[in-house]
Symmetry: C2
Subunit: 159 residues, 2 copies
DNA sequence: GTTTATGCAAACTGTTTGCATTGCT
DNA sequence: AGCAATGCAAACAGTTTGCATAAAC
């Protein structure tokens, strides 16, 4: 979904409103937490961060809000295979902050990397064009992840 | 995990045995179903296919078997964001059968594509090398997925 | 004032686990 | 024989939903 909106100081509200949603305290709080986060947060992580400030906001609303934000493209939802979904603010591919993931299958650690991002994004863009045409598919986003063992898991492994 | 094994007609048994697991009817059945499947199956899909032939094999075993197979690298586990994990036989990157995914966020359809695979794999390999070195990470596998709307979902969308 | 969002508790779903039994080697 | 694998039922975790209330517009 795209839903037009003006940018600006509180363009989040604009974006929500433009998509037909109301701007509420809870939704704002979720966006605040996500924009201050430097890692991928689970719904419960977000709840924990919001709760001290807005004790009235329940986990259910967090889930409902995240659902909306993912739908309108403001937030990306990830699954690193640890049973719970993780969320982060959407960034334009190629823009500052765009990254891919390195997931440790040992301890679950997730490293964001930006190395090779430009090349990757360039190839992805080309691939996207080809695929869109061939399969008549409108591509909205992509996901690149590498799986393996991180430094510490590698060392602690008995072989 | 790597676990040495001889190839050959029933190298699956060898692989299992080599990793210290026993070769059982259930495990064989799971591997059979996976190798005959032309799409990504969920644990329950696999159960459904096995049940008519081996009514004695329960869903629990399927899960346990899949866990093992994923661990020893014979099977890849995917999450396309539809609540259930999906499994497919592992293929060597660059080998015949290696593909990436196009996931429709509308209807959940997953298209395997092999277009651009060579280029993608080449770049991934280079990226892997760089990342391995920089983060001292042992990379075992990668995941590339594109999300968007498929042909039919695109057309049925009212905008 | 009307409509949408929320909280709470209960429901749901996919997956995991405990334990007694079975089956591989 | 000995130990690993299995089935069953129950437990579990994250997420979703029904419904009455509260808040946004």
């Amino acid at each position: 979904m795209d839903c037009s909106s003006r940018k600006g100081k509180s363009w989040r509200h604009g974006k929500l409103r433009g998509c037909g949603y109301r701007a509420t305290v809870g939704r704002d709080a979720v966006l605040d937490v996500l924009s201050q986060a430097d890692e991928h947060l689970s719904a419960e992580d977000i709840y924990m961060k919001i709760h001290p400030i807005h004790p009235g906001i329940g986990l259910t609303s967090i889930y409902r809000t995240l659902g909306i934000l993912v739908n309108i493209g403001m937030v990306h939802k990830f699954d690193f295979g640890h049973g719970r979904a993780r969320y982060e603010l959407a960034e334009h591919p190629g823009g500052r902050g765009h990254h891919h993931h390195l997931v440790c299958t040992g301890c679950g650690r997730v490293i964001d990397y930006t190395d090779f991002i430009d090349e990757e994004v360039a190839l992805l863009k080309k691939t996207e064009e080809g695929l869109s045409k061939k399969y008549n598919f409108r591509i909205d986003s992509h996901l690149i992840q590498f799986y393996g063992l991180c430094d510490s898991c590698n060392n602690s492994k008995v072989s």
